[in-house]
């Protein structure tokens, strides 16, 4: 069963990228679908920061190039998934 935080993360992706939550899979990556462009990436960062009450640093914003990577990064900020 999916943890509450993982569900929040998937929902954040679906909201920011304006896509169905079903396509939010680990291998979904930046710029591989038209919806995940730089504007959506900025919205995604804002959404994640808001939901998890964290402040991502620039290295992590740059590294967040896929859903899998986002999971890894979010956990560095003390969020358990």
């Amino acid at each position: 069963m999916m943890s509450a935080n993982l569900e929040k993360l998937m929902t954040a992706f679906a909201t920011a990228l304006n896509v169905d939550i079903q396509i939010v899979q680990d291998d979904l990556a930046y710029n591989t679908i038209p919806q995940w462009d730089s504007t959506a990436h900025m919205a995604l960062i804002a959404e994640l920061e808001d939901i998890f009450d964290i402040m991502l640093d620039t290295d992590d914003i740059i590294d967040m190039s896929s859903v899998a990577k986002a999971k890894e990064i979010i956990q560095k900020y003390g969020v358990s998934l």
């Binding site: 990556a29 710029n31 730089s38 990436h41 900025m42 290295d59």
Partner: protein, 191 residues
């Protein structure tokens, strides 16, 4: 071409191309991942590369940079004067860049060198217009430039796009914010 101009910001550094970079640049430029988006796909020989460097080194209307991120060379950038005698009297400039490293090509970081170049052109050189020409099938580049505030001024096999400061400042504000945040460094890192 100025040889001591270094631009730093948004996590990247642009340093002038030197003789030592020529073979790396030639390898990058001849790679299909880069050459497919160039107007010419001809393979560049070492002799042509050397001749090119000699020419641009003496040209006050051009600046060529290597883009570095975390001390790694990841791509190349340039500025060419389209109207004006040199960079410092230019009113119209054409910026250009490519990222060679796959890891950084589909990444928000690709905006960083453009932000640096555009800031330099608008704020230091006081350029009125930035102009670029993009192949019409290069949707990634067209979208990329649109995110920076460029407007299409002529459509065709080559699409002509232009950027003015007001549009750039408005379009780039959020990107600049994200790429200007402090980075976490390990305690033993030397800055």
């Amino acid at each position: 071409m100025e040889t001591d101009l270094i631009l730093s910001g948004y996590q990247v550094t642009l340093r002038p191309v030197t003789q030592d970079d020529l073979e790396m640049l030639r390898t990058w430029r001849n790679a299909p991942s880069v050459s497919q988006f160039m107007v010419s796909q001809d393979i560049i020989t070492p002799e042509q590369q050397t001749a090119w460097f000699k020419k641009v080194s003496r040209d006050p209307k051009q600046l060529h940079f290597i883009i570095t991120y975390k001390d790694q060379s990841i791509g190349a950038a340039n500025l060419r004067v389209l109207q004006g005698a040199d960079l410092y009297t230019a009113t119209v400039i054409e910026p250009g860049l490519y990222i060679f490293e796959d890891k950084y090509r589909a990444n928000l970081l690709t905006f960083a060198p453009s932000l640096l170049l555009n800031d330099f052109c608008f704020n230091r050189l006081r350029v009125k217009i930035l102009r670029a020409v993009v192949k019409s099938d290069n949707e990634a580049a067209l979208n990329y430039n649109q995110k920076l505030g460029y407007q299409v001024v002529r459509k065709g096999a080559l699409v002509e796009i232009e950027l003015q400061q007001r549009s750039y400042d408005q379009a780039s504000k959020s990107l600049k914010g994200l790429l200007s945040r402090p980075t976490k460094r390990k305690n033993n890192d030397v800055r």
